[in-house]
């Protein structure tokens, strides 16, 4: 029993016979602090403030770790030395070059993956026949970890760009297809039947109703699975590459440059946040009707 409850109880039992000043009626219901309310809403200022506190606490953890483990095998570089290593990497001309090489691989592979995802996903989400046909094989293949394909792709496709792009595709395409199929399934049936009764044919309905309705969802799916694309890229580059961000990671490892490795991790994080913000902006720009 909570202390408030015990304090209130005699008050509730015999309010009228209690002598002294007229009793203030006890408030009904439990008051909750807005920060701790389930599914509550926060004012904008509080949200911004909390987000800032979140970033600061991450930095603080890093700073703390770097002072606790400042030397030895388990060494954490300070944010400042990481920054210095990053600048060094940049001025040596490597970082820009590697960033470009890695980004190009992700961009090509992910574009292919999304193109397949949109076509197959909308097909599966729109036609029960394609769903019945495609879902079982996709479901089977999907459980093969895409990273397990790495040696196979290296064997088949050599060690140039092709296996890296192929890994990015293989690691994301099934998620893109299945998630975009879900997005296409969410098109209200009333909307489709309305289009039909207005004289639209199947192709017109797909192009003018299913696709535009699915578009913001497709951008969201792209946003979520982009992280998977970078994951596959790193796997590919760690094994066989002579340029790229993960290649620099292995090089830094050889020279025991923990600060350089941290700088590259930060670059990954920055790319992630930047592409996330871009896709969010794109979604709101191209589908203002679906702004959340």
């Amino acid at each position: 029993m909570t202390p408030e409850a015990t304090a209130v109880e005699p008050h509730v039992r015999e309010p009228s016979v209690a002598p002294g000043p007229a009793p203030v009626p006890a408030a009904r219901g439990r008051r909750e602090h807005p920060l701790a309310r389930l599914r509550g809403e926060l004012p904008m200022a509080a949200r911004v403030a909390l987000a800032a506190v979140g970033v600061v606490s991450l930095l603080a953890c890093w700073l703390l770790a770097s002072t606790l483990w400042s030397s030895g095998a388990f060494r954490v570089p300070t944010p400042l030395s990481t920054l210095r290593a990053g600048v060094e990497l940049w001025t040596d001309g490597d970082l820009g070059h590697d960033l470009l090489a890695s980004s190009r691989r992700v961009a090509v592979g992910y574009a292919i993956s999304l193109a397949i995802g949109v076509v197959a996903g909308i097909g599966i989400g729109s036609f029960a026949s394609l769903e019945a046909y495609g879902e079982a094989p996709i479901g089977l293949v999907r459980y093969v970890p895409a990273t397990a394909l790495t040696p196979l792709f290296l064997l088949w496709l050599g060690i140039d760009e092709a296996p890296k792009v192929a890994l990015v595709v293989a690691g994301t395409v099934f998620y893109n297809v299945l998630m975009i199929a879900d997005v296409a399934r969410a098109v209200p049936r009333d909307m489709v039947t309305s289009a039909y009764t207005l004289g639209a044919g199947r192709w017109t309905v797909l192009r003018r109703v299913v696709f535009p309705h699915s578009w913001p969802g497709i951008v969201d799916v792209a946003r979520v699975n982009l992280a998977g694309a970078w994951l596959m890229l790193v796997v590919a580059e760690l094994l066989a590459a002579n340029e790229g961000l993960a290649f620099q990671l292995t090089r830094a490892y050889r020279f025991r440059r923990v600060d350089t490795m941290f700088a590259i991790l930060v670059v990954f994080a920055v790319i992630g946040v930047a592409s996330d913000l871009f896709l969010r902006w794109l979604r709101n720009r191209t589908a203002p009707w679906a702004r959340s």
Partner: protein, 264 residues
């Protein structure tokens, strides 16, 4: 029943439904008969209502006329032609959520005209005319999300009217609206009808709405759906809410309610 039987409209109906049966078969259970021997007709320029309890199959009937579902047996003809599938000759408006939220009001109304490859100038003229009829000229460039529920249904009606359908099929079009808006929309539909003389088949569970809007009311029983009565409504085409206080209106309402209770 009603004293007015309009022989002229029965002579050349737009829509004829004759002996329509809809059965749902499944392997485990015996076939379920949703609609059983439905006969009805809608004459040119008439508003005809179908009233029934929820689950009586009235929406299925409308979907069959729209070509979105198929009858097990029976005849459904529009201007003497059988129905193979949906088409712009049978416009449909359902309860809601059918407007394209990414298209402006103008572009929503234009959709059917785009499908019919109407040239853009003629399209724009027709859209403006329709938006004038439904009183939404000032909202042409808004998105559906910015409109109230009643306004959205007005857009849906304008959009369905745009390809000049032979018949307008309304499936509980005001079912998601609050009572006041609903009333206003019923008067609005009568106004639109007065200006366009569209042929309308309306499905509703609201007895007042069925009588108020319909020249004729088909009362559908439930499980299986059968035409329990065909009632001619004794009011002219120029109606206002005064008629809902008319004793004949009240009698009709009681009659239909009793029919629905007896056949529910």
């Amino acid at each position: 029943m009603g004293p007015l039987v309009n022989a002229a409209t029965i002579a050349e109906p737009k829509l004829v439904v004759d002996g329509l049966v809809k059965e749902y078969t499944s392997r485990r259970a015996p076939a379920v008969r949703a609609l059983d021997g439905i006969d009805l007709s809608v004459g040119d320029g008439e508003i005809v209502s179908i009233v029934g309890a929820s689950g009586c199959g009235k929406s299925t009937l409308l979907r069959i006329v729209a070509g979105l579902d198929h009858a097990t047996t029976g005849r459904v003809e529009i201007e003497g032609c059988p129905i193979a599938g949906p088409g712009p000759d049978r416009g449909m408006v359902s309860q809601g959520y059918s407007l394209f939220p990414w298209r402006t009001v103008r572009a929503n109304v234009a959709f059917g005209l785009e499908c019919a490859k109407v040239p853009s100038r003629a399209r724009a003229e027709r859209v403006d005319e329709l938006l004038g009829i439904v009183g939404l000229g000032g909202f042409a460039d808004r998105l559906p999300g910015e409109l109230s529920g009643g306004m959205r249904q007005r857009v849906a009606i304008a959009r369905a009217l745009a390809p000049e359908p032979d018949i307008l099929l309304l499936d509980e079009p005001f079912g998601a609206l609050d009572a006041q808006t609903r009333r206003a929309m019923q008067d609005f539909l009568l106004q639109v009808w007065a200006r366009t003389r569209a042929t309308i088949l309306l499905v509703t569970h609201d007895i007042d709405e069925a009588i108020y809007l319909g020249r004729r009311v088909y009362v559908l029983s439930s499980r299986p759906g059968r035409v329990a009565a065909r009632i001619d409504v004794p009011f002219g085409s120029n109606r206002s809410w005064q008629v809902t206080r008319d004793p004949r209106f009240l009698d009709l309402r009681d009659e239909i309610r009793d029919l629905l209770l007896a056949n529910g």
